[in-house]
């Protein structure tokens, strides 16, 4: 066994897939000898050479477009976006070209775009974003966002093996803050589209993903002491997401709270709420509710960031309200 961080799990996943499949190569800014802004790809250029770990110019549209072209020819490129906030620069080619390539004309488009997402690190409005909602609306894309070390590895491997374009959002707050024992070289592949039951419970279902799962679990501990038993679903795949697991849980607990770090309006919780309402209307004993960031660009000051982003205490209070409803 080896105790690895969330970040190392991603790197291990990349390395193992590059070893097993020579069609896999990496592109991104500063990912080569420097190993990336967060050092996720550290050592990989030494190991696989500069042809398979390619430093690019600052041009997200260029390298994501190039990834698509290489994928059409049978490669499986993995692009790193230095901060996921800069994925917006490739929004057009990603949603229009990449996402539709298979549908339009059967082009192979197996590629992964990954990068550090999320806040709680005083990164300010342009180094803290959670962009899932911007892509949720795009038929042809898949989106994953691991919360655990195991899934960090399992989902990067699954994403690389997937025949469709996958966005892989890795929460930078988790990079070095969580560790787990993963046997060296264990071929962990987390199925895309399947949620993880992070905690069993009876009174309330909380649906969440990425770093928020840890705050939800923390809240669940507190609530347990108050006699409130919370079931926690870690969605991990956001597109497609595991409607069945949510439905099963809601039919059991009859109450559901969706918690995400992203802003509320137009955030992913809306879609989840709509699906729950469509599938479990008769089972709901309380409205589906959301705990999310306030609808503002994420500010820099710790006091402001902490206020804007959802905190454990917010989840606890919301959960109490739900079970008392």
């Amino acid at each position: 066994m080896a105790l690895v961080t969330f970040l190392e799990a991603i790197r291990d996943g990349l390395r193992e897939e590059m070893e097993r499949d020579e069609r896999v190569f990496l592109m991104g800014e500063d990912i080569g000898s420097f190993g990336g802004a967060f050092k996720v790809t550290e050592g990989l250029q030494d190991r696989f050479g500069a042809e398979r770990v390619i430093d690019t110019p600052i041009a997200e549209t260029a390298f994501i477009g190039a990834a698509a072209g290489a994928a059409h020819m049978g490669f499986r490129p993995v692009c790193e976006v230095q901060f996921i906030d800069f994925l917006s620069c490739a929004y057009s080619i990603l949603t229009n070209y990449v996402a539709t390539a298979r549908y339009r004309a059967g082009l192979k488009t197996s590629l992964v775009v990954r990068g550090p997402s999320g806040g709680y690190v005083r990164g300010g409005p342009f180094h803290s974003q959670n962009p899932e909602a911007a892509y949720l609306h795009t038929p042809g894309l898949k989106i994953v966002a691991p919360a655990t070390v195991r899934d960090a590895k399992g989902l990067i491997k699954a994403a690389i093996r997937d025949d469709d374009p996958v966005l892989y959002f890795e929460h930078k707050y988790l990079y070095r803050r969580i560790k787990d024992d993963l046997p060296y070289g264990e071929d962990i592949v987390t199925p895309i589209g399947k949620a993880r039951l992070a905690r069993e419970g009876k009174h309330l279902t909380v649906v969440s993903w990425s770093a928020m799962v840890w705050k939800v679990l923390e809240a669940a501990e507190t609530l347990e002491k108050e006699g409130v038993s919370v079931e926690v679903i870690d969605l991990r795949s956001l597109l497609p997401f595991d409607e069945e697991s949510i439905v099963t849980s809601v039919k059991k607990t009859n109450r559901v709270l969706v918690v995400h770090e992203d802003t509320r309006t137009g955030g992913m919780a809306g879609e989840i709420t709509a699906r729950i309402n469509e599938r479990c209307f008769e089972w709901l004993d309380a409205p589906v509710r959301r705990v999310c960031a306030h609808d503002v660009p994420l500010p820099y000051a710790p006091t402001l960031e902490d206020f804007v982003l959802p905190q454990t205490d917010d989840i606890v209070k919301a959960a109490r309200w739900m079970v008392e409803y």
Binding site: A66, A67, G69, F75, I93, G140
Partner: protein
């Protein structure tokens, strides 16, 4: 003897081929106009009148036997034909037929066949430059002596995607030829409102890539110039930006009456019509006889008519066929709740 090079390394038969492809382009487009007027073309119709030499001559410079791949624009029908796209495919696309290459999903010449060597464009201008970077990266990574070619209009060169793509290709020294089509206008916008440079080839200097320029209405010159760029790319010399100077003699699409272009300008360019010029050159130089050309014309007409007849009455796709193929691994059928009632 029949294979001996006559001009620009091209044998007599090849010179005839160039004529064939240009004539096929024009005749096919003219047929499409007729079908458009009969409302059989579903969407818009885009002409390459006067630009046939540009598309055909440049594509002809690729080596199909080696697996070269190009990505055309809307006005490069000729280049797709050279690469092996067939008139019936084009007709089916325009008419949105079920048996068309995209089964009615995409329009006009937006379709692909990487085996034959063409990757259809999408509408967002500039995007194919980055994508063709990836295609040519694959050649480089596999050590294949293949070349890619991508077209970009005077207008499309203003996009960020073009810039990011050509710069990426330059830095990576990819085997990519970029054909900059200077046809005077982007929709109604003259080149002077698109860029402050005199020639599109001037842009090469900003990327550290080779530049070439040719008369886009002279198919042999287009061929020769592009060929030089293709050979440079194949030899590891990286990117060339090839400017072809030509003119868009029709409106942006069939509905546009081109009010913003003067009669004089149109007349001047009509006088330089690439097919007429080539016919004169072929016959005056003794590279082809009038009879030979007439035979080609007849062949083209026959092929186009036959293609139209073969597909004109074909059905459109079934509505529900729209639901498959978004993903490689399709989710269960997605018929909506109220359609399941």
């Amino acid at each position: 003897m029949a294979d001996a090079p006559v001009v620009a390394g091209l044998a007599r038969g090849q010179l005839h081929e160039l004529y064939y492809w240009m004539r096929l382009t024009r005749t096919l487009e003219e047929k499409l106009v007729a079908l458009y007027r009969q409302t059989k073309v579903v969407g818009g119709l885009f002409r390459s009148l006067g630009q046939e030499a540009d598309a055909v001559g440049s594509a002809y410079a690729l080596d199909r036997t080696r697996g070269d791949i190009l990505s055309p624009l809307i006005r490069n029908l000729g280049s797709m034909l050279v690469q092996g796209a067939t008139p019936i495919e084009v007709l089916r696309q325009y008419m949105a037929k079920a048996d068309g290459p995209t089964h009615g999903r995409e329009l006009n010449i937006h379709f692909n066949d990487l085996d034959r060597g063409f990757l259809g464009q999408t509408s967002h201008l500039g995007d194919m430059v980055p994508v063709m970077c990836g295609v040519t990266m694959s050649f480089k990574l596999r050590r294949e002596p293949r070349v890619g070619l991508v077209y970009v209009g005077d207008g499309a060169m203003s996009t960020g995607a073009f810039h990011e793509g050509i710069n990426f290709a330059a830095v990576q020294r990819l085997p990519l030829v970029i054909i900059a089509e200077n046809n005077g206008y982007a929709y109604s916008t003259p080149m002077a409102k698109q860029t402050a440079v005199r020639f599109l080839a001037d842009k090469a200097a900003g990327y550290g890539v080779a530049a070439e320029q040719a008369d886009g209405n002279d198919v042999v010159a287009v061929y020769e110039t592009t060929r030089r760029a293709v050979e440079r790319a194949r030899a590891g010399g990286g990117v060339t930006l090839v400017e072809l100077i030509t003119f868009r003699r029709k409106g942006h699409a069939e509905h546009d009456n081109q009010s913003y272009v003067t009669r004089e300008e149109l007349d001047a360019w009509e006088a330089r019509d690439p097919i007429d010029r080539y016919v004169r050159r072929l016959t005056e130089s003794g590279w082809a006889t009038a009879a030979e050309l007439a035979t080609i014309d007849a062949r083209v007409s026959g092929e186009v008519d036959q293609a139209v007849a073969a597909c004109e009455n074909e059905p459109l796709p079934e509505g529900a066929s729209a639901l498959t193929g978004v993903f490689a691994d399709p989710p269960a059928a997605d018929l909506e709740w109220y359609r399941r009632l």
